[in-house]
């Protein structure tokens, strides 16, 4: 026993009070939290005051959940960037004195200007807290140690996971400043129990291990937690990681600017909204919530971001939500399959929705292909069309690449019902990424991507 009393350590949930609360009670509690967050944002954030005034909404008018859904506007990343541009780095988006700052993050700005993210000590603690629900539910306790095989930088990335380890009271081993081989040597030396990485990097370490003659399944790692990309909720990817490491693989879904919103379910087939600290809607293209069981865009409100409030924030992630009881016992909203794709990656081929996560899952079914691939989408006069570049496994002879490509195209045709060309390439020919991998390349005109329109959009 370390830190926790045995009876407490045996508890299934980190916060049993809310994690098993009836849906109606959770929704009542959410309304109070949403009202608090809206009042705070209106009083403290010039960006939110302008936005709500523009939509003629005063905080006191949000009396019911229906008011929140119908009256409070969505907000998108571009509006935050515009507000920050007023007086960089934070401008009108800032809601708190810099005296309260604890840490600053920024996005890479790969699709435009970097988005700046201020964290107070309060919000940093709660970003960490959001990870602990996952750690605890999967049996990780304060006696365990965590390995972080990445370089600590300005990107939020796994910082919040580190904050979570501190919050839990467990041990951190940092692999910052090292290459992959040195990290594997550290794992052998320090014998950590848990490793955190993107799915791509967790698999890439397998290639490095093969070069070194190391069997990852024989290391001390018994749990791999993945984040930053879909993968942990894609059975084929998860099974590949589990086989490689001889470990259980879980995921957490989060968004840099809003935090770790969805700890993975311990049953591994999806994730739960962290309802202590986040509220979510899942909406269709007209902005209306879709019924439970259906797919739409994930719209998140944070109760954490006191530095830069975000209310009804458009994540552009496509998820399926359900309020059905989960086998793990939690009553928190459940997202089977995790993130299914991006609204801006939505592909419609001859009337059929094709999700990038489904493409990845199917590629794993094809014998001879590795986990490295790229999806390219373009458009002709009437339709989106998709081509996939995939690497062969290192033990596959180059003369078989064309046959494997035909096999993969056959799998897509039989399962999804659409034609997708697959080009098989030599191992190592596609880029490798330590953090978020770029797998999706959209060459379509902007007008042919998902557009959220209608009520409440600013």
């Amino acid at each position: 026993m370390k830190l926790y009393k045995p009876a407490v350590e045996a508890q299934k949930f980190w916060n049993p009070y809310t994690q098993t609360m009836a849906r109606a009670d959770l929704d009542r509690l959410h309304l109070r939290k949403l009202q608090t967050a809206i009042e705070y944002a209106y009083a403290k954030s010039p960006m939110y005051r302008k936005l709500l005034d523009r939509h003629k909404v005063k905080p006191a008018q949000v009396r019911t959940m229906d008011d929140f859904i119908k009256r409070v506007p969505f907000i998108d990343k571009k509006e935050i960037l515009d507000a920050q541009a007023v007086s960089p780095p934070f401008g009108d988006a800032l809601a708190i004195s810099e005296d309260f700052f604890h840490q600053r993050f920024a996005t890479s700005g790969s699709t435009g200007a970097p988005l700046h993210i201020p964290l107070t000590y309060h919000s940093a603690e709660l970003w960490g807290e959001s990870w602990v629900y996952l750690y605890w539910a999967t049996g990780i306790r304060a006696r365990h140690s965590f390995y972080f095989p990445f370089n600590w930088g300005i990107f939020a990335a796994f910082w919040s996971a580190y904050m979570g380890v501190r919050r839990l009271g467990a041990t951190v081993v940092s692999g910052g400043g090292l290459d992959s081989k040195a990290r594997l040597r550290q794992i052998e030396q320090y014998r950590p129990d848990v490793m955190l990485a993107t799915p791509t990097y967790a698999l890439y370490l397998g290639e490095t291990a093969r070069e070194m003659g190391v069997d990852l399944a024989k290391t001390s790692i018994s749990t791999v937690i993945v984040s930053g990309e879909p993968g942990g909720s894609i059975p084929a990817t998860r099974h590949a990681i589990e086989a490689l490491w001889g470990a259980r693989c879980y995921e957490l879904y989060g968004i840099a600017e809003i935090g770790p919103t969805n700890p993975g379910c311990p049953l591994q087939e999806g994730n739960h909204l962290c309802e202590d600290w986040y509220h979510a809607l899942v909406v269709d293209e007209s902005g209306n919530p879709v019924p439970y069981g259906e797919v739409g865009e994930h719209i998140v409100t944070s109760y954490i971001q006191d530095g830069q409030p975000l209310i009804k924030y458009r994540t552009h992630d496509l998820v399926r939500w359900t309020d059905q009881p989960c086998g793990c016992g939690s009553t928190w909203l459940y997202y089977p399959g995790g993130v299914l794709g991006r609204t801006d990656h939505m592909i419609i081929v001859k009337g059929v929705n094709v999700y990038p996560a489904a493409v990845e899952a199917l590629l794993h079914r094809v014998s001879g292909l590795s986990e490295h691939y790229e999806v390219h989408v373009d458009r002709d006069a009437a339709n989106d069309f998709v081509t996939v570049k995939a690497e062969a496994r290192s033990d596959v002879d180059g003369t078989r690449y064309a046959d494997i490509g035909r096999d993969a195209a056959g799998v897509f045709k039989s399962v999804i019902g659409v034609s997708i060309d697959v080009t098989v390439q030599a191992p190592g020919s596609l880029p490798r990424y330590e953090l978020k991998a770029k797998r999706f390349f959209d060459h379509r005109p902007a007008g042919h991507r998902w557009q959220l329109a209608g009520r409440g959009q600013a």
Binding site: R32, T36, K44, I96, S97, Y121, E125, D276, P309
Partner: protein, 60 residues
Amino acid sequence: MTREETLERLRELQTRVQELRQASDNPAIERTMQLLDLYCHMARWELGDVRAMNPEAESQ
């Protein structure tokens, strides 16, 4: 211990922590009491006793 009993003790604790923070002229003690105040706020929120997002920031 019930939720209500826990909350009652938390509120009492937070009041005493805030009093000590105000009374102390020791930087180390003031910072520790500030953090304890914040953790009391978090604990109350976790039990559904929702108040301000960040009471200290909102009071300024």
